[in-house]
């Protein structure tokens, strides 16, 4: 399918509110993390929000980790 329109994709196909609520910002051991709810009680780390470069070397906060 090819669309020929000046509208943006999101105007034509609105994103479901579910995809907004799936991502949350939480705090674990004093570090803020953006996590994705996996719907089974666990969360997958999407992003670490820290300015300390050493936090990024901590294996527990690597994106993709399940917590």
């Amino acid at each position: 399918m090819i669309l020929y329109t000046p509208l943006s994709e999101t105007d034509i196909y609105p994103v479901s509110s579910d995809s907004y609520t799936k991502f949350q910002t939480i705090e674990v051991n004093g570090k803020r993390l953006t996590v994705e709810d996996l719907q089974d009680g666990s969360y997958r780390i999407v992003q670490l929000l820290s300015t300390n470069p050493h936090d990024y070397l901590n294996a527990n906060f690597t994106p993709g980790q399940i917590i």
Binding site: T10, V15, S19, Y20, K22, F23, T25, R32, L49, S50, T51, N52, P53, H54, L57, N58, A59
Partner: protein, 242 residues
């Protein structure tokens, strides 16, 4: 390895998943990863869209200003942190959020250095110039173009005036925090024929330095050297007052 051995091995894995300790030994050959001492330099990365008053759909990569502002305050307050490096690879975003971040960075008492990697477009320009010293990678670009409105736009002259004032705020900030002249910045902003679908200019690394927008072309090494130099200078000034 025989079939029996493989079967046995798989069985073990299913019943007993390797503990984190075993995983660490497997991956790194040791039980504990050495932890480095606290860093005196912190990093603020501004990636993707600068997200302000409106939450963007989740497929966008965004930097939320409500996340960054408390971090900047924490950096200002923590005496162990001596310097800040701002890494930019942004496509722009919310004008007010971007200006808020720029003002926060500009008013930080600690030495700051910014480095533009890849792109520092639109509102990335004021953020890049807000630090004490700025660097740009030779391949990085910065798009300078007029600001625009999304959403409901009322077709009255006041709308244009509002937009013009908003633009003036950006120009004002950039010219007062960098060596570029207002005239030149406006000229780049309203240039025709450079961008495919817009008015403006795409300024590449060396050109950004030539126009006085950015201080120097360089990478992470140059940025770290400069930041350490600024930290030392800051310390010297501090002891002189005492």
């Amino acid at each position: 390895m025989t079939d029996k051995d493989i079967g046995k091995h798989e069985g073990e894995d299913q019943t007993n998943p390797p503990s984190s300790l075993v995983q660490k030994i497997q991956a790194l050959g040791q039980t504990s990863v050495p932890t480095a001492p606290d860093s005196n330099i912190h990093v603020l990365s501004i990636i993707g869209q600068v997200e302000g008053h409106v939450q963007l759909p989740p497929q966008n990569k965004t930097t939320k200003y409500e996340h960054l502002i408390p971090q900047i305050v924490a950096i200002e307050q923590n005496p162990k942190i001596e310097g800040l490096i701002v890494v930019l690879n942004t496509v722009g975003g919310d004008v007010e959020a971007g200006l808020a971040l720029s003002e926060m960075l500009a008013s930080l008492s600690k030495p700051t250095v910014s480095i533009v990697l890849g792109g520092g477009h639109s509102i990335g320009v004021p953020i890049a110039v807000s630090t004490n010293y700025s660097f740009i990678a030779p391949s990085a670009t910065m798009t300078i173009h007029p600001i625009r409105l999304t959403g409901l736009v009322i077709g009255v002259p006041q709308t244009f005036e509002y937009l013009d004032k908003m633009q003036e705020r950006v120009i004002q900030f950039v010219t007062s925090h960098s060596n570029i002249k207002g005239e030149k910045f406006k000229e780049l902003m309203f240039e025709k024929g450079n961008l495919t679908r817009d008015i403006g200019t795409n300024v590449i690394g060396t050109d950004a330095v030539k126009y006085g927008l950015i201080d120097e072309v360089g990478g992470i090494k140059e940025a770290m050297v400069k930041l350490n130099e600024l930290i030392d200078q800051d310390k010297e000034d501090g002891t002189m007052i005492q």
